[in-house]
């Protein structure tokens, strides 16, 4: 420590260095390995790809970079179709989460202070159970002889079970259910911060409540809306478990394609290329978000 301090490193540097070191070890290094595999060639061996660097002789080093895996992704419609399908599914789920989450967050933020923590706790309560268990529970609810169908049949409303499991409907239920808290929490934070006198000022200036919501409340909670949408959209694009367990066989999600490429086809280079492309597809919205956050900080001190 004293040696570090002599060289001009303070405790603060050390504290910030730890998470960076963590990210370097467990994010950047694996990323580089995956990147390396994605530009390698497949071979039937262990590991199932050609090395990038080979010693041709003692002095000459051979470097083989192969972009065919990426070209293949664009040639085969399976990949870009599943990309598009993932983005569409994630987009629709995000929209549904926003439509359900905003009134929820608004209600919590405007409830009595004594109630707020309890309501927030209820939003977070599902996290106390494993994610996987909760998805399995939905199978029990939605399947042909599950809770809903049994109840409806017992009541005599339907004669034969409604097929819900293994459909897009079940998949959307699963995604929206699982990611709703991630939408509600950032929305709550930004709605709770909203100065109510601004809404009074709007009303005072002749603005009706519904219009004031769209002209004042929505723009001023934009950061919460964007944060919530990102927190739902990004993991939903790569979602693998929910489409596999609840979705139909035709639900082509990129996470599923990746899994199959990796474990069924054992084509590590193509799977890695899929992963890298997916990463970049997701980095773009994150960057847009970061930019808007930066503007927010500049805009509202």
């Amino acid at each position: 420590m004293t040696l570090l301090r002599k060289r001009g490193y303070s405790g603060r540097t050390l504290v910030t260095a730890v998470p960076y070191l963590w990210l370097l070890l467990f994010f950047l290094v694996p990323f580089l390995i995956v990147l390396k595999i994605s530009v390698s060639e497949i071979r039937l061996a262990m590991p199932p790809y050609e090395p990038l660097v080979t010693w041709i002789s003692t002095q000459v080093v051979g470097l083989r970079i192969n972009f065919e895996n990426y070209a293949f992704l664009f040639e085969d419609s399976l990949y870009w179709k599943s990309f598009l399908n993932s983005i569409r599914t994630a987009g629709i789920s995000t929209l549904i989460c926003l439509l359900i989450g905003y009134p929820m967050a608004y209600g919590i933020a405007r409830s009595k202070p004594a109630w707020r923590n309890l309501l927030l706790l209820l939003v977070m309560l599902p996290f106390w159970t494993s994610f996987l268990l909760r998805v399995y529970a939905w199978i029990g609810i939605l399947k042909n002889n599950g809770v809903i169908n049994n109840l409806l049949m017992a009541l005599g409303i339907i004669d034969e079970p409604i097929v819900m499991l293994q459909t897009n409907f079940a998949m959307y239920i699963g995604i929206v259910y699982s990611y709703l808290p991630f939408m509600v929490l950032p929305l709550y934070t930004s709605i709770e911060k909203l100065d109510l006198s601004l809404l009074e000022a709007a009303a005072d200036l002749g603005c009706r409540p519904v219009k004031a919501f769209f002209r004042i409340t929505v723009p001023l909670t934009k950061s919460g809306i964007i944060a919530g949408c990102m927190l739902v959209f990004i993991p939903a694009v790569g979602e693998f478990v929910i489409p596999a367990l609840l979705g139909g066989p035709d639900a082509l999600m990129i996470g599923r394609v990746l899994w199959e490429e990796f474990f069924n086809n054992r084509d590590w280079p193509v799977a890695s290329a899929v992963a890298i492309v997916m990463l970049f597809v997701l980095v773009i919205p994150i960057m847009i978000y970061q930019r808007s956050q930066g503007q927010q900080i500049g805009g509202h001190p």
């Binding site: 000022a201 009303a203 002749g206």
Partner: protein, 381 residues
Amino acid sequence: MANARPEQRSEPWKDPGAQPYVRLDKLTKKFGDFVAVDDVSLNIYRNEIFCLLGGSGSGKTTLLRMMAGFETPTEGTISIDGVDVTATPPYERPINMMFQSYALFPHMSVQKNVAFGLKQDRVSKGEIDDRVAEILKLVRMEQLAKRMPHQLSGGQRQRVALARALVKRPKLLLLDEPLAALDRKLREHTQFELLNIQETLGVTFVVVTHDQEEAMTLATRIGVMNHGEIVQIGTASDIYEYPGSRFVADFIGSVNMFEGRLIEDEPDYVRVASDELGGTFHVSHGVSAAPDAIVWVALRPEKILLSRDRPDGGGDNRVDGVVSEVAYRGDQSVYLVRLASGRQMRVTQPNMLRQGAGDRIRWDDKVWLSWDSSSPVVVTQ
């Protein structure tokens, strides 16, 4: 501070035939068991600047918010220009409000903030631009129309908030602590600016403030509030010189208050004997109270004369004591004089001579205090 232009202001409240512009009739507001505003009736006339003055929790803000429509009265009615608006929602009232926090929309430029109210009324774009430019010129903010609120100083925000509230040409403008967020110099300057703007536009103002100096500078009339009731209404000088109760005398300015007994009660003067004073007050106004009643005499510190020698004349309205504190305030000095009874009496004297010049009264000096019989005020409650 005296009223800025007393000679230019008419006094419609003295005219029994005058129609009040804003009429509050038996307004009561309860929050649960707590009575925030208690049976307030009030008439405000066109072009008045009416100040509601009171401490925190006196109900002044609740009263203002009921006028704006943000709170629904538990009982009573509010009418403006003869129209009952008690049940009208805020967005349909011909009233605008300037908020204490200014409540400028942080995501809109100055221009957009000011234009917001006009847009709600579907005014044509050309007219909006003209009226916004005109009002921004009036508050001298035309150069900063493109700025965002966070890029403005406190004084500039205050002017934008004022412009935004005025641009709709409301029948009544409500101002909630309009100058509280400004520093002293700027506040004084802005007070006179507000008066000018009010005069230019001829809008009726209702101002809520806890700052008596602000109320006295701005107001045509002041309503002093305490515990949800209006305890006295009058011009600044009425309230300062003729407080109707111990609360008002004590609340406005500083005052020496003495408990005493009415020993002579004539139509044009009274005499009050006070053990606290160790002497008698001769007050040149009549009082409606029973003989021998317990009353209070209020005497303002600046109306007392301080001297080393016993003033000439009879035994009323003079007392001797010892200076226990002297506070130099630049323009004046404040003296605390201990009387024989042990009571401290507060006296202020203008510093007419520079410090060090002449014979100054210091600590522990024996002094005489005297005042004119028109100075003390007898209050019975």
